[in-house]
Protein backbone atom coordinates (compact mmCIF):
# COMPACT_ATOMS: atom_id res chain seq x y z
CA UNK A 1 0.00 0.00 0.00
CA UNK A 2 2.74 2.43 0.96
CA UNK A 3 4.58 1.22 -2.12
CA UNK A 4 1.63 2.18 -4.29
CA UNK A 5 1.34 5.57 -2.60
CA UNK A 6 5.07 6.18 -3.08
CA UNK A 7 4.74 5.36 -6.79
CA UNK A 8 1.79 7.71 -7.18
CA UNK A 9 3.74 10.46 -5.43
CA UNK A 10 6.75 9.80 -7.63
CA UNK A 11 4.55 10.04 -10.68
CA UNK A 12 3.04 13.29 -9.36
CA UNK A 13 6.48 14.86 -8.99
CA UNK A 14 7.41 13.70 -12.48
CA UNK A 15 4.16 15.11 -13.90
CA UNK A 16 4.75 18.45 -12.19
CA UNK A 17 8.29 18.73 -13.50
CA UNK A 18 7.17 17.88 -17.05
CA UNK A 19 4.23 20.30 -16.86
CA UNK A 20 6.57 23.12 -15.82
CA UNK A 21 8.82 22.38 -18.80
CA UNK A 22 5.86 22.28 -21.19
CA UNK A 23 4.73 25.80 -20.27
CA UNK A 24 8.09 27.59 -19.86
CA UNK A 25 10.58 28.43 -22.64
CA UNK A 26 12.88 27.34 -24.20
CA UNK A 27 10.66 25.03 -26.21
CA UNK A 28 11.83 22.21 -28.43
CA UNK A 29 9.51 23.11 -31.32
CA UNK A 30 11.22 20.89 -33.88
CA UNK A 31 10.61 17.70 -31.91
CA UNK A 32 7.14 18.85 -30.89
CA UNK A 33 5.93 19.22 -34.48
CA UNK A 34 7.75 16.09 -35.59
CA UNK A 35 6.15 13.99 -32.85
CA UNK A 36 2.70 15.50 -33.38
CA UNK A 37 2.95 14.78 -37.11
CA UNK A 38 4.19 11.21 -36.62
CA UNK A 39 1.55 10.41 -33.98
CA UNK A 40 -1.27 11.78 -36.12
CA UNK A 41 -0.08 9.81 -39.13
CA UNK A 42 0.48 6.55 -37.29
CA UNK A 43 -2.78 6.66 -35.34
CA UNK A 44 -4.89 7.83 -38.28
CA UNK A 45 -5.38 4.37 -39.79
CA UNK A 46 -6.16 2.59 -36.50
CA UNK A 47 -8.58 5.32 -35.33
CA UNK A 48 -10.56 5.19 -38.58
CA UNK A 49 -10.40 1.39 -38.66
CA UNK A 50 -12.00 1.27 -35.20
CA UNK A 51 -14.55 4.12 -35.27
CA UNK A 52 -15.98 3.28 -38.69
CA UNK A 53 -17.12 -0.29 -37.80
CA UNK A 54 -18.35 0.99 -34.44
CA UNK A 55 -20.52 3.57 -36.20
CA UNK A 56 -21.91 0.74 -38.31
CA UNK A 57 -22.69 -1.32 -35.19
CA UNK A 58 -24.56 1.59 -33.58
CA UNK A 59 -26.53 1.96 -36.79
CA UNK A 60 -27.35 -1.77 -36.79
CA UNK A 61 -28.42 -2.01 -33.14
CA UNK A 62 -30.13 1.40 -33.09
CA UNK A 63 -32.18 0.48 -36.14
CA UNK A 64 -33.28 -2.74 -34.44
CA UNK A 65 -34.52 -0.72 -31.44
CA UNK A 66 -36.17 2.14 -33.35
CA UNK A 67 -37.88 -0.28 -35.73
CA UNK A 68 -39.89 -1.52 -32.72
CA UNK A 69 -41.27 1.99 -32.18
CA UNK A 70 -41.39 2.96 -35.85
CA UNK A 71 -39.10 5.89 -35.01
CA UNK A 72 -36.34 5.31 -37.58
CA UNK A 73 -35.89 9.04 -38.08
CA UNK A 74 -34.39 9.31 -34.57
CA UNK A 75 -31.54 6.97 -35.52
CA UNK A 76 -29.15 9.60 -36.99
CA UNK A 77 -29.66 11.82 -33.91
CA UNK A 78 -28.74 8.90 -31.67
CA UNK A 79 -25.69 8.09 -33.79
CA UNK A 80 -24.38 11.64 -33.69
CA UNK A 81 -24.94 11.95 -29.91
CA UNK A 82 -23.20 8.65 -29.22
CA UNK A 83 -20.29 9.25 -31.58
CA UNK A 84 -19.58 12.90 -30.80
CA UNK A 85 -20.00 12.79 -27.03
CA UNK A 86 -18.56 9.49 -26.05
CA UNK A 87 -17.43 6.93 -28.58
CA UNK A 88 -15.05 8.87 -30.74
CA UNK A 89 -13.20 10.55 -27.82
CA UNK A 90 -12.87 7.28 -25.92
CA UNK A 91 -11.99 5.04 -28.87
CA UNK A 92 -9.53 7.55 -30.34
CA UNK A 93 -7.83 7.83 -26.95
CA UNK A 94 -7.69 4.05 -26.49
CA UNK A 95 -5.97 3.81 -29.85
CA UNK A 96 -3.61 6.69 -29.04
CA UNK A 97 -2.72 4.96 -25.76
CA UNK A 98 -2.14 1.69 -27.59
CA UNK A 99 -0.21 3.11 -30.53
CA UNK A 100 1.48 6.36 -29.47
CA UNK A 101 1.67 5.76 -25.71
CA UNK A 102 3.26 2.37 -26.09
CA UNK A 103 5.70 3.59 -28.73
CA UNK A 104 6.75 6.48 -26.46
CA UNK A 105 7.32 4.05 -23.59
CA UNK A 106 9.33 1.80 -25.91
CA UNK A 107 11.41 4.69 -27.32
CA UNK A 108 12.24 6.25 -23.98
CA UNK A 109 12.68 2.81 -22.41
CA UNK A 110 15.25 1.71 -24.93
CA UNK A 111 16.99 5.10 -24.63
CA UNK A 112 17.20 4.47 -20.89
CA UNK A 113 18.45 0.90 -21.36
CA UNK A 114 21.13 1.99 -23.80
CA UNK A 115 22.12 4.80 -21.38
CA UNK A 116 21.35 7.47 -23.99
CA UNK A 117 19.34 9.43 -21.44
CA UNK A 118 22.30 9.41 -19.05
CA UNK A 119 24.49 10.62 -21.90
CA UNK A 120 22.11 13.53 -22.53
CA UNK A 121 22.20 14.46 -18.86
CA UNK A 122 26.01 14.34 -18.82
CA UNK A 123 26.08 16.77 -21.73
CA UNK A 124 24.08 19.14 -19.48
CA UNK A 125 20.98 18.80 -21.64
CA UNK A 126 17.78 18.62 -19.61
CA UNK A 127 16.36 15.27 -20.81
CA UNK A 128 12.89 16.04 -19.43
CA UNK A 129 12.78 19.27 -21.41
CA UNK A 130 14.41 17.83 -24.50
CA UNK A 131 12.84 14.36 -24.77
CA UNK A 132 9.74 14.20 -22.58
CA UNK A 133 8.03 17.62 -22.78
CA UNK A 134 7.68 17.66 -26.62
CA UNK A 135 6.17 14.16 -26.56
CA UNK A 136 3.54 15.09 -23.96
CA UNK A 137 2.73 18.35 -25.75
CA UNK A 138 2.46 16.50 -29.07
CA UNK A 139 -0.18 14.15 -27.65
CA UNK A 140 -2.16 17.10 -26.23
CA UNK A 141 -2.34 18.46 -29.78
CA UNK A 142 -2.74 15.19 -31.68
CA UNK A 143 -5.54 13.63 -29.59
CA UNK A 144 -8.20 16.24 -30.45
CA UNK A 145 -7.22 16.09 -34.13
CA UNK A 146 -7.63 12.33 -34.16
CA UNK A 147 -10.89 12.67 -32.26
CA UNK A 148 -12.27 14.94 -34.98
CA UNK A 149 -11.31 12.45 -37.66
CA UNK A 150 -12.86 9.69 -35.54
CA UNK A 151 -16.10 11.72 -35.38
CA UNK A 152 -16.21 11.89 -39.16
CA UNK A 153 -15.42 8.19 -39.57
CA UNK A 154 -18.02 7.15 -36.98
CA UNK A 155 -20.76 9.22 -38.62
CA UNK A 156 -19.72 7.84 -42.01
CA UNK A 157 -20.02 4.33 -40.56
CA UNK A 158 -23.53 5.08 -39.31
CA UNK A 159 -24.47 6.53 -42.71
CA UNK A 160 -23.06 3.48 -44.49
CA UNK A 161 -25.05 1.11 -42.31
CA UNK A 162 -28.41 2.83 -42.29
CA UNK A 163 -28.54 4.43 -45.76
CA UNK A 164 -26.32 2.32 -47.99
CA UNK A 165 -26.93 -1.13 -46.45
CA UNK A 166 -30.35 -0.93 -44.77
CA UNK A 167 -31.79 1.47 -47.36
CA UNK A 168 -33.15 4.20 -45.07
CA UNK A 169 -33.73 7.46 -46.98
CA UNK A 170 -30.54 9.52 -47.10
CA UNK A 171 -32.28 12.91 -46.92
CA UNK A 172 -34.04 11.98 -43.66
CA UNK A 173 -30.72 10.82 -42.23
CA UNK A 174 -28.96 14.09 -43.04
CA UNK A 175 -31.90 16.22 -41.85
CA UNK A 176 -32.03 14.54 -38.43
CA UNK A 177 -28.28 14.14 -37.98
CA UNK A 178 -27.88 17.26 -35.81
CA UNK A 179 -31.17 16.88 -33.96
CA UNK A 180 -29.73 16.59 -30.46
CA UNK A 181 -26.13 17.68 -30.95
CA UNK A 182 -24.70 21.17 -30.72
CA UNK A 183 -21.34 22.77 -31.25
CA UNK A 184 -20.74 22.38 -27.50
CA UNK A 185 -20.72 18.60 -27.88
CA UNK A 186 -17.91 18.78 -30.40
CA UNK A 187 -16.05 21.26 -28.18
CA UNK A 188 -16.54 19.02 -25.13
CA UNK A 189 -15.03 16.13 -27.10
CA UNK A 190 -12.01 18.25 -28.01
CA UNK A 191 -11.42 19.38 -24.40
CA UNK A 192 -11.85 15.82 -23.12
CA UNK A 193 -9.42 14.36 -25.60
CA UNK A 194 -6.72 16.94 -24.96
CA UNK A 195 -6.93 16.07 -21.24
CA UNK A 196 -6.76 12.38 -22.16
CA UNK A 197 -3.76 13.15 -24.37
CA UNK A 198 -1.95 14.76 -21.45
CA UNK A 199 -2.74 11.77 -19.20
CA UNK A 200 -1.56 9.25 -21.80
CA UNK A 201 1.60 11.20 -22.60
CA UNK A 202 2.58 11.63 -18.94
CA UNK A 203 1.97 7.98 -18.02
CA UNK A 204 3.76 6.66 -21.12
CA UNK A 205 6.80 8.90 -20.64
CA UNK A 206 6.91 8.10 -16.90
CA UNK A 207 7.07 4.35 -17.56
CA UNK A 208 9.58 4.74 -20.37
CA UNK A 209 11.73 7.22 -18.45
CA UNK A 210 12.12 4.97 -15.41
CA UNK A 211 12.55 1.64 -17.23
CA UNK A 212 14.87 -0.90 -15.65
CA UNK A 213 15.89 -4.42 -16.56
CA UNK A 214 16.95 -4.74 -20.19
CA UNK A 215 14.76 -5.79 -23.12
CA UNK A 216 12.23 -7.51 -20.84
CA UNK A 217 11.94 -4.26 -18.87
CA UNK A 218 11.01 -2.38 -22.05
CA UNK A 219 8.27 -4.92 -22.74
CA UNK A 220 6.97 -4.53 -19.20
CA UNK A 221 7.03 -0.71 -19.45
CA UNK A 222 4.96 -0.86 -22.66
CA UNK A 223 2.51 -3.29 -21.09
CA UNK A 224 2.06 -1.18 -17.94
CA UNK A 225 1.68 1.98 -20.01
CA UNK A 226 -1.23 0.74 -22.07
CA UNK A 227 -3.10 -0.70 -19.12
CA UNK A 228 -2.59 2.15 -16.66
CA UNK A 229 -3.12 4.94 -19.20
CA UNK A 230 -6.41 3.39 -20.30
CA UNK A 231 -7.57 2.89 -16.71
CA UNK A 232 -6.70 6.44 -15.71
CA UNK A 233 -8.38 8.17 -18.59
CA UNK A 234 -11.53 6.06 -18.26
CA UNK A 235 -11.77 7.20 -14.65
CA UNK A 236 -11.06 10.80 -15.71
CA UNK A 237 -13.72 10.41 -18.40
CA UNK A 238 -16.40 9.68 -15.82
CA UNK A 239 -15.45 12.75 -13.78
CA UNK A 240 -15.26 15.06 -16.80
CA UNK A 241 -18.55 13.79 -18.22
CA UNK A 242 -20.28 14.27 -14.88
CA UNK A 243 -18.96 17.82 -14.67
CA UNK A 244 -19.86 18.75 -18.24
CA UNK A 245 -23.20 17.11 -18.91
CA UNK A 246 -24.90 16.07 -15.69
Amino acid sequence: MTDLLARIGHFGVFAGRVAWRVVTPPWNFGDFFRHAWIVSLRCLGPVIAVTFPFGMVIGLQGLAIFNMFGAQRLLPSLISVAVLRELSPVLASVLVAAQAGSSYAAELGSMRIKEELDATEIMAVDSLRWHVAPRVAALILACPILNTLGDVAGLAGGYTMSVLIKGEPGGVFMANLWGFTHAEDLLAGLIKTSIFGAIIGLIACYHGFYTTGGAAGVGRAVNDTVVRATLTFFAANYIITSAMFA
Binding site: P53, V81, L95, Q99, A215, A235, A246
Partner: protein
Protein backbone atom coordinates in the same frame (compact mmCIF):
# COMPACT_ATOMS: atom_id res chain seq x y z
CA UNK B 1 1.21 -4.04 -49.44
CA UNK B 2 3.13 -4.59 -46.22
CA UNK B 3 -0.15 -4.93 -44.35
CA UNK B 4 -1.33 -7.60 -46.81
CA UNK B 5 1.90 -9.53 -46.38
CA UNK B 6 1.51 -9.25 -42.61
CA UNK B 7 -2.06 -10.61 -42.72
CA UNK B 8 -0.88 -13.45 -44.94
CA UNK B 9 1.87 -14.21 -42.44
CA UNK B 10 -0.68 -14.23 -39.62
CA UNK B 11 -2.88 -16.67 -41.52
CA UNK B 12 0.09 -18.95 -42.20
CA UNK B 13 0.98 -18.75 -38.53
CA UNK B 14 -2.49 -20.01 -37.65
CA UNK B 15 -2.29 -22.78 -40.23
CA UNK B 16 1.17 -23.80 -39.00
CA UNK B 17 -0.06 -23.91 -35.44
CA UNK B 18 -3.09 -25.99 -36.37
CA UNK B 19 -1.06 -28.43 -38.45
CA UNK B 20 1.59 -29.02 -35.83
CA UNK B 21 -0.36 -28.80 -32.58
CA UNK B 22 -4.04 -29.48 -33.08
CA UNK B 23 -3.56 -33.23 -32.94
CA UNK B 24 -1.20 -33.19 -29.94
CA UNK B 25 -2.32 -33.25 -26.36
CA UNK B 26 -2.01 -29.76 -24.84
CA UNK B 27 0.38 -29.36 -21.89
CA UNK B 28 -2.32 -29.46 -19.22
CA UNK B 29 -0.39 -27.97 -16.32
CA UNK B 30 0.94 -25.08 -18.36
CA UNK B 31 -2.49 -24.42 -19.86
CA UNK B 32 -4.08 -24.08 -16.43
CA UNK B 33 -1.21 -21.89 -15.30
CA UNK B 34 -1.69 -19.58 -18.29
CA UNK B 35 -5.46 -19.54 -17.78
CA UNK B 36 -4.93 -18.56 -14.15
CA UNK B 37 -2.44 -15.90 -15.08
CA UNK B 38 -4.48 -14.35 -17.89
CA UNK B 39 -7.73 -14.50 -15.93
CA UNK B 40 -6.51 -13.30 -12.56
CA UNK B 41 -4.13 -10.66 -13.89
CA UNK B 42 -6.72 -9.09 -16.15
CA UNK B 43 -9.45 -9.16 -13.51
CA UNK B 44 -8.69 -5.97 -11.51
CA UNK B 45 -8.17 -3.98 -14.70
CA UNK B 46 -11.33 -5.40 -16.18
CA UNK B 47 -13.38 -4.62 -13.08
CA UNK B 48 -12.22 -0.99 -12.99
CA UNK B 49 -12.75 -0.37 -16.69
CA UNK B 50 -16.16 -1.98 -16.88
CA UNK B 51 -17.19 -0.01 -13.81
CA UNK B 52 -16.37 3.27 -15.53
CA UNK B 53 -17.92 2.15 -18.82
CA UNK B 54 -21.14 1.51 -16.94
CA UNK B 55 -21.10 4.89 -15.20
CA UNK B 56 -20.59 6.71 -18.48
CA UNK B 57 -23.20 4.67 -20.28
CA UNK B 58 -25.75 5.71 -17.67
CA UNK B 59 -24.72 9.39 -17.78
CA UNK B 60 -24.80 9.60 -21.57
CA UNK B 61 -27.97 7.56 -21.87
CA UNK B 62 -29.63 9.91 -19.41
CA UNK B 63 -28.47 12.97 -21.32
CA UNK B 64 -29.50 11.53 -24.66
CA UNK B 65 -33.00 10.57 -23.55
CA UNK B 66 -33.88 13.64 -21.48
CA UNK B 67 -34.89 15.63 -24.61
CA UNK B 68 -37.19 12.73 -25.54
CA UNK B 69 -38.78 12.81 -22.09
CA UNK B 70 -37.96 9.16 -21.70
CA UNK B 71 -35.79 8.91 -18.63
CA UNK B 72 -37.17 5.43 -18.14
CA UNK B 73 -35.40 4.43 -21.32
CA UNK B 74 -32.03 4.71 -19.54
CA UNK B 75 -32.37 1.17 -18.16
CA UNK B 76 -33.17 -0.18 -21.59
CA UNK B 77 -30.35 1.75 -23.26
CA UNK B 78 -27.81 0.59 -20.68
CA UNK B 79 -28.90 -3.01 -20.91
CA UNK B 80 -28.86 -3.12 -24.70
CA UNK B 81 -25.68 -1.15 -25.36
CA UNK B 82 -23.81 -2.65 -22.42
CA UNK B 83 -24.76 -6.30 -22.73
CA UNK B 84 -24.75 -6.57 -26.51
CA UNK B 85 -21.79 -4.47 -27.57
CA UNK B 86 -19.74 -2.56 -25.05
CA UNK B 87 -19.03 -5.06 -22.29
CA UNK B 88 -17.69 -7.85 -24.57
CA UNK B 89 -15.66 -5.35 -26.57
CA UNK B 90 -14.22 -3.60 -23.52
CA UNK B 91 -13.34 -6.96 -21.96
CA UNK B 92 -11.52 -7.88 -25.17
CA UNK B 93 -9.70 -4.53 -25.33
CA UNK B 94 -8.51 -4.88 -21.74
CA UNK B 95 -7.41 -8.50 -22.15
CA UNK B 96 -5.55 -7.43 -25.30
CA UNK B 97 -3.91 -4.59 -23.38
CA UNK B 98 -2.99 -6.68 -20.35
CA UNK B 99 -2.57 -10.34 -21.33
CA UNK B 100 -2.00 -9.83 -25.07
CA UNK B 101 0.85 -7.36 -24.63
CA UNK B 102 2.38 -9.68 -22.08
CA UNK B 103 2.26 -12.64 -24.48
CA UNK B 104 3.82 -10.52 -27.22
CA UNK B 105 6.61 -9.17 -25.02
CA UNK B 106 7.42 -12.55 -23.44
CA UNK B 107 7.72 -14.27 -26.81
CA UNK B 108 9.61 -11.32 -28.31
CA UNK B 109 12.11 -11.44 -25.44
CA UNK B 110 12.53 -15.18 -26.08
CA UNK B 111 13.13 -14.39 -29.74
CA UNK B 112 15.71 -11.73 -28.77
CA UNK B 113 17.56 -14.16 -26.52
CA UNK B 114 17.35 -16.89 -29.20
CA UNK B 115 15.45 -19.14 -26.81
CA UNK B 116 12.97 -20.02 -29.57
CA UNK B 117 15.82 -21.30 -31.74
CA UNK B 118 17.04 -23.24 -28.71
CA UNK B 119 13.61 -24.88 -28.39
CA UNK B 120 13.74 -25.96 -32.03
CA UNK B 121 17.24 -27.32 -31.57
CA UNK B 122 15.96 -29.42 -28.69
CA UNK B 123 13.28 -30.76 -31.06
CA UNK B 124 10.50 -29.09 -29.05
CA UNK B 125 7.87 -27.59 -31.34
CA UNK B 126 7.74 -23.90 -30.34
CA UNK B 127 4.15 -23.55 -31.58
CA UNK B 128 3.03 -26.36 -29.32
CA UNK B 129 5.13 -25.23 -26.41
CA UNK B 130 4.42 -21.48 -26.53
CA UNK B 131 1.15 -20.90 -28.39
CA UNK B 132 -1.01 -23.89 -27.35
CA UNK B 133 -1.14 -23.24 -23.58
CA UNK B 134 -1.81 -19.54 -24.11
CA UNK B 135 -4.54 -20.24 -26.67
CA UNK B 136 -6.40 -22.84 -24.60
CA UNK B 137 -5.90 -20.75 -21.47
CA UNK B 138 -7.41 -17.61 -22.97
CA UNK B 139 -10.29 -19.60 -24.48
CA UNK B 140 -11.03 -20.96 -21.01
CA UNK B 141 -11.14 -17.63 -19.21
CA UNK B 142 -12.41 -15.16 -21.82
CA UNK B 143 -16.14 -16.08 -21.60
CA UNK B 144 -16.00 -15.82 -17.81
CA UNK B 145 -14.30 -12.44 -18.00
CA UNK B 146 -16.96 -11.22 -20.42
CA UNK B 147 -19.76 -12.29 -18.08
CA UNK B 148 -18.08 -10.46 -15.22
CA UNK B 149 -17.70 -7.35 -17.38
CA UNK B 150 -21.40 -7.44 -18.28
CA UNK B 151 -22.35 -7.77 -14.63
CA UNK B 152 -20.10 -4.96 -13.38
CA UNK B 153 -21.25 -2.65 -16.19
CA UNK B 154 -24.88 -3.15 -15.25
CA UNK B 155 -24.23 -2.73 -11.52
CA UNK B 156 -22.26 0.49 -11.92
CA UNK B 157 -24.80 2.04 -14.28
CA UNK B 158 -27.54 1.07 -11.82
CA UNK B 159 -25.63 2.82 -9.03
CA UNK B 160 -25.10 5.98 -11.10
CA UNK B 161 -28.70 6.07 -12.31
CA UNK B 162 -30.14 5.65 -8.84
CA UNK B 163 -27.73 7.60 -6.63
CA UNK B 164 -26.33 10.27 -8.95
CA UNK B 165 -29.17 10.85 -11.39
CA UNK B 166 -31.99 10.00 -9.00
CA UNK B 167 -33.94 7.61 -11.22
CA UNK B 168 -36.39 5.11 -9.83
CA UNK B 169 -34.54 1.83 -9.14
CA UNK B 170 -37.56 -0.40 -9.81
CA UNK B 171 -38.20 1.19 -13.22
CA UNK B 172 -34.54 0.91 -14.15
CA UNK B 173 -34.45 -2.78 -13.31
CA UNK B 174 -37.74 -3.49 -15.04
CA UNK B 175 -36.65 -1.86 -18.30
CA UNK B 176 -33.18 -3.38 -18.11
CA UNK B 177 -34.59 -6.85 -17.62
CA UNK B 178 -37.26 -6.38 -20.25
CA UNK B 179 -34.78 -5.55 -22.97
CA UNK B 180 -32.20 -8.28 -22.50
CA UNK B 181 -32.73 -11.85 -23.47
CA UNK B 182 -30.70 -14.98 -22.90
CA UNK B 183 -29.75 -14.72 -26.56
CA UNK B 184 -27.83 -11.48 -25.90
CA UNK B 185 -25.69 -13.19 -23.28
CA UNK B 186 -24.93 -16.06 -25.66
CA UNK B 187 -23.99 -13.60 -28.38
CA UNK B 188 -21.58 -12.01 -25.93
CA UNK B 189 -20.02 -15.40 -25.28
CA UNK B 190 -19.65 -16.10 -28.99
CA UNK B 191 -17.96 -12.74 -29.36
CA UNK B 192 -15.70 -13.52 -26.41
CA UNK B 193 -14.49 -16.73 -28.08
CA UNK B 194 -13.82 -14.95 -31.38
CA UNK B 195 -11.93 -12.16 -29.59
CA UNK B 196 -9.91 -14.72 -27.59
CA UNK B 197 -8.74 -16.39 -30.82
CA UNK B 198 -7.86 -13.03 -32.39
CA UNK B 199 -5.96 -11.71 -29.36
CA UNK B 200 -3.94 -14.88 -28.83
CA UNK B 201 -2.94 -15.43 -32.46
CA UNK B 202 -2.14 -11.77 -33.14
CA UNK B 203 -0.10 -11.32 -29.97
CA UNK B 204 1.85 -14.56 -30.36
CA UNK B 205 2.50 -13.82 -34.03
CA UNK B 206 3.79 -10.33 -33.22
CA UNK B 207 6.14 -11.89 -30.67
CA UNK B 208 7.34 -14.61 -33.07
CA UNK B 209 8.22 -12.23 -35.91
CA UNK B 210 9.64 -9.42 -33.76
CA UNK B 211 13.03 -7.92 -34.47
CA UNK B 212 15.74 -8.56 -31.94
CA UNK B 213 16.73 -6.08 -29.23
CA UNK B 214 14.78 -3.78 -26.91
CA UNK B 215 13.26 -1.74 -29.77
CA UNK B 216 12.03 -4.94 -31.37
CA UNK B 217 10.32 -6.01 -28.13
CA UNK B 218 8.69 -2.60 -27.72
CA UNK B 219 7.51 -2.56 -31.32
CA UNK B 220 6.09 -6.08 -31.14
CA UNK B 221 4.15 -5.24 -27.98
CA UNK B 222 2.84 -2.03 -29.51
CA UNK B 223 1.78 -3.78 -32.71
CA UNK B 224 0.08 -6.60 -30.81
CA UNK B 225 -2.34 -4.35 -28.93
CA UNK B 226 -3.15 -2.07 -31.89
CA UNK B 227 -3.80 -4.88 -34.36
CA UNK B 228 -5.84 -6.90 -31.83
CA UNK B 229 -8.04 -3.88 -31.09
CA UNK B 230 -8.68 -3.18 -34.76
CA UNK B 231 -9.45 -6.81 -35.59
CA UNK B 232 -11.70 -7.17 -32.52
CA UNK B 233 -13.81 -4.14 -33.47
CA UNK B 234 -14.07 -5.31 -37.07
CA UNK B 235 -15.06 -8.85 -36.10
CA UNK B 236 -17.48 -7.40 -33.52
CA UNK B 237 -19.29 -5.75 -36.40
CA UNK B 238 -19.27 -8.97 -38.44
CA UNK B 239 -20.62 -11.09 -35.55
CA UNK B 240 -23.31 -8.49 -34.76
CA UNK B 241 -24.27 -8.34 -38.43
CA UNK B 242 -24.62 -12.11 -38.61
CA UNK B 243 -26.45 -12.62 -35.31
CA UNK B 244 -28.62 -9.47 -35.17
CA UNK B 245 -28.66 -8.22 -38.78
Amino acid sequence: MKALAWIGGLAWFGVDWARSSLSCRPPAGKTLEEAYRIGVQSLPVLLTISFFVGTNLALQGYNAFVPLGGQRLVGMFVAMAGVRELAPLIAAAMVAAKAGTEMASQIAVMRTREQIDALEVMAVNPYWFLVTPRLYGIILVMPALTLIAVFVTLVSSFLVSVFQLGLNPATFLEFARGSTRMRDIFTGEVKALVFALIICFVSCYCGFVSEKGPEGVGKATNQAVVVSCILCVTFNYLVSQVLYG
